[in-house]
Symmetry: C2
Subunit: 217 residues, 2 copies
């Protein structure tokens, strides 16, 4: 890649900031940009015709969200991207993204790797939704978040994202009430503590067991 080309990509790379209550894009919007999270976290949400919502993924800094299919074939965004607090993202126009991939095979391979990982991740998630009970799915979620975003503290691992029971419910495909009841059980068993703003995983190993176990506690 020549200097010229590199400069032209950089010119098309802009940073955007979003806050609570805003949307980066919404389900059905035209897909004109390729995005990269640089600060904060972003929720990827899909909603059904009846208004029920499901959170597919929490993107962290470094994550791409391109909605590839949409960017390439001009179809609308299949879901909504919603900031969780203050967020910054880099945006690259469709054309610049495409040119970059064409002229930079290494970048293309990185994107392939990234998409491959995401694909595996979602397939694992689909398996869990298809086969596991609600409490197992919730345990799996807590384990993943603890490992991906957790900060070790005196009492356990504090999650790096603010998550209400409703958020968790949307991530594992249950109602808010069910999520609340299961979390109450987990709290009683000293597996977790705290709520939304300060959620702590106190017993990772037992949560992991529970995620793979038959009988519900």
């Amino acid at each position: 890649m020549g200097e010229q080309e590199r400069r032209s990509f950089l010119e098309e790379l802009t940073e955007a900031h979003y806050g609570k209550g805003q949307y980066i894009f919404r389900q059905g919007d035209p897909a004109d940009y390729f995005h990269i999270v640089t600060r904060g976290s972003v929720k990827c949400v899909k909603s059904s015709p009846e208004g029920k919502e499901c959170t597919l993924k929490v993107l962290m800094p470094g994550d791409l969200f391109c909605c590839e299919a949409a960017v390439f074939d001009g179809s609308p965004h299949p879901g909504t991207a919603q900031p969780m607090g203050e967020v910054s993202v880099l945006r690259l126009s469709k054309k610049a993204y495409f040119d970059m991939l064409r002229s930079n095979p290494d970048a293309a391979i990185e994107v392939i790797k990234y998409l491959g990982n995401r694909l595996n991740e979602v397939q694992e998630q689909a398996k869990i939704l298809a086969l596991d009970r609600a409490d197992q799915r919730l345990a799996t979620l807590l384990v993943n978040l603890a490992e991906r975003t957790g900060v070790t503290e005196a009492q356990g691992i504090r999650l790096g994202v603010r998550l209400t029971r409703q958020d968790m419910a949307n991530m594992v495909g249950v109602t808010t009430e069910t999520a609340i009841r299961i979390m109450a059980r987990f709290k009683k068993l000293r597996l977790v503590s705290g709520t939304a703003a300060r959620l702590v995983v106190r017993d990772l190993p037992r949560l992991k067991e529970l995620a793979a176990m038959k009988p519900s506690l």
Copy 2:
């Protein structure tokens, strides 16, 4: 890409055939090849520690199955690839695949497009597993298969894949009994007819409605 290079890729491209009862690869196997289906259909299956199974996707001719993450970072196959009847696949070694992507940006972009579409597909599937009832999920499955593999006949659209109720159950995350009961209901409503070897969708529009509808029939 020079003639030399092209020839070297082709040299590494071999065709393999599989039949009923065999495996193309199994969950946990090392991932050494990139595959393309050329004939027949292939089931992608994941199983849980307790032995329950879930079918994530039926691959048709033209589909890639590379388990990208696995091919790139040397991790084991995250699932099993199982022929449904007689199947042919092209296999390309890891190294040849990688070289091909590096030297051929257009191919890399095609792979990115393909993976992007797959990602959307699985995310849609996850949404459905998270939010819809069993009968809606089954209706969605029948609609998709009718549109993807169906052949129009006098009585309706005949599916191009052999699918037992158990197969369907594994695809939508319910037990075999539940799939049987729901299919019995669909049959009574004249939405479908036939079993495994000869499954016919008789009323696509109503199945589509049902897939998006609140009350169960």
